[in-house]
């Protein structure tokens, strides 16, 4: 991943090659600033340089990775509905499991009639319906729904790296990199390790998206934390 990025993405080429590296390798004793990771603000500022030479979009997809992290905690059985409570300009989720419908509800500007109808219909049909948002947004949604429907709603709070708590539910999210992991039954924040790689640096945790085309995020610092391994599942977890 790192070698391919060095060969194809302007920002990483510039960061490593112009610092005198002919290859993106770790030189003992010369780890650079933050062990070579880049700050999120810098990555966002230089978004056009994250588009690989082959071309692509320079737009972040903040709901990227939602499908896989939800699939790790919910069983949809071919039908379901996912309501993401976010701003209207956020792109709808594109990686939900087959048969699951997703939409973005912006409560601040008023939920569209069709989206509300789809949500209540799915609840009446006893489908698996998941709502993802901040605590405040979720409370607003539950308050707005009729009581007999709101009890069937599976509400999952969204947390960023600085807000990790003991749950019992939650999805690890970043506004730029998207969904990175989930809080599982074992009570630990599991990284979606098939799609996300994290490593520890002196400035916190740096994340790399393993399956991405454009923009390419490699080794982006998101915040404090440390890495561990879940004794029950044997996979990487994030320790607050």
């Amino acid at each position: 991943m790192v070698i391919n990025t060095f060969r194809t993405v302007p920002l990483y080429r510039e960061l490593w090659a112009l610092s005198g590296r002919t290859d993106p390798v770790v030189v003992p004793g010369r780890l650079g600033v933050h062990s070579g990771a880049i700050a999120k603000e810098e990555a966002v500022r230089r978004m056009v340089d994250l588009v690989p030479l082959a071309g692509g979009v320079a737009v972040t997809h903040s709901l990227r990775g939602l499908g896989p992290v939800l699939a790790a905690r919910n069983t949809f059985r071919g039908r379901g509905f996912v309501a993401v409570l976010d701003k209207k300009d956020v792109l709808s989720p594109t990686d939900l499991p087959r048969g699951v419908v997703g939409c973005v509800l912006d409560q601040s500007t008023g939920v569209s009639e069709s989206a509300w109808h789809a949500l209540t219909t799915a609840l009446r049909r006893n489908e698996t319906v998941v709502a993802v948002g901040t605590d405040k947004q979720l409370v607003e949604l539950v308050t707005a729904l009729p009581e007999q429907l709101s009890t069937a709603l599976d509400v999952v709070p969204r947390r960023d790296l600085t807000e990790l708590d003991n749950g019992p539910y939650g999805l690890l999210h970043d506004s730029v990199l998207g969904y990175l992991g989930t809080l599982r039954q074992c009570g630990r924040w599991h990284l979606d390790w098939r799609r996300v790689y994290a490593r520890q640096t002196d400035a916190g945790l740096a994340f790399t998206l393993l399956r991405q085309r454009s923009p390419v995020f490699v080794d982006v610092l998101l915040g404090p934390g440390s890495l561990g391994r879940c004794q029950r599942h044997g996979t990487p977890v994030i320790l607050p």
Binding site: F6, R7, T8, P10, L11, R13, E14, A17, L18, T22, D23, R45, R46, M47, V48, D49, P52, L53, A54, A58
Partner: protein, 337 residues
Amino acid sequence: MIATTVHDPRHDPVPAGWADFVACQHLYAPWDFELLGMEAWLSRNPPLLVVARSGKEIVGAMTALVCAPGQTRRYAPARPAGRFVPRVAQVYQPWLGGEGFVVPSRDRSVVRALERALRTRLGPGLVGMIYRNVPASLSPLVSGTGRVVRPVTPAASVLENRWGSAEEWLASLSRNRRKNVRRVDRLVAEDPSLVVRFGPGRSDVDAVALAGMLRTHRARFGRQRFDPRSPVGGAYLAAFLRRPDVHTLTYADADGHVHAFSTYLDHPVSPVLQFWATIGDRSHLYFDCHARAIRHVIATGRRELFAGRGMFTQKESLGFGARPMCVVGVPGPAVGQ
């Protein structure tokens, strides 16, 4: 006796006497060795610098982009793959639209020596050389038996400074264009939301944002076939704009967001109006940028102004003329002969 050396700007030190040669021949900013190094690291087809000497004195130089197949989607490897990998050398300064070689004496034997040095460096994999955008006056230096010479269309736009003042220049334009230039002057001057700044060595601009704007601007016109250039890197542009011989013209709003910019490479004789990029449709700024450059050339008494090959009709209406250029193809066996 001419001795030649080939330098990879990514790894090799600056050739001895190079800075003096650049200063003495008044070469444009992209010939700076450090900038060539940055350009090479951020290129799909990195340039090599070939230098010819007579004794200790540099008598000629050439930059050749080494183009290998399969390099459209990735940067060039740090070291060339092998001597038998087919490659084409394009003699070209990508950000000058030509001027890939400099031989002050106009001696053909120096050019042939540079070619032979390149052939020796690249080995049997060198299938040919292409001289891009060679001014017609220099084509005898690179043409010859077995070489193909074709004119380039459109030709380069060159404005010959034959006016004593900007008013004289304005008076020489057609009535419609004169009215248009005055209208654009008025539009720009009366727009309170537009902050126009022009100056050398600008360190107050966000070069990364400008590089992004340049890429977006160019993407609107689609990718050219056989274009060996790579996107302009933010680090390259930042180093470039800080040079004292590079003037930057920016059109920004009150918040400092740049909406259009251009660069002007200063030269005692022939300055170059180089990059132009804009967000959205601001065609009047394109004319304003050219009018400002022309006025600057007149005020500073430069002999001519180069302004690239695009939009010739519009430039012609501002007083530019066409300077014929050609492309010269040199098949492998004819390289250095």
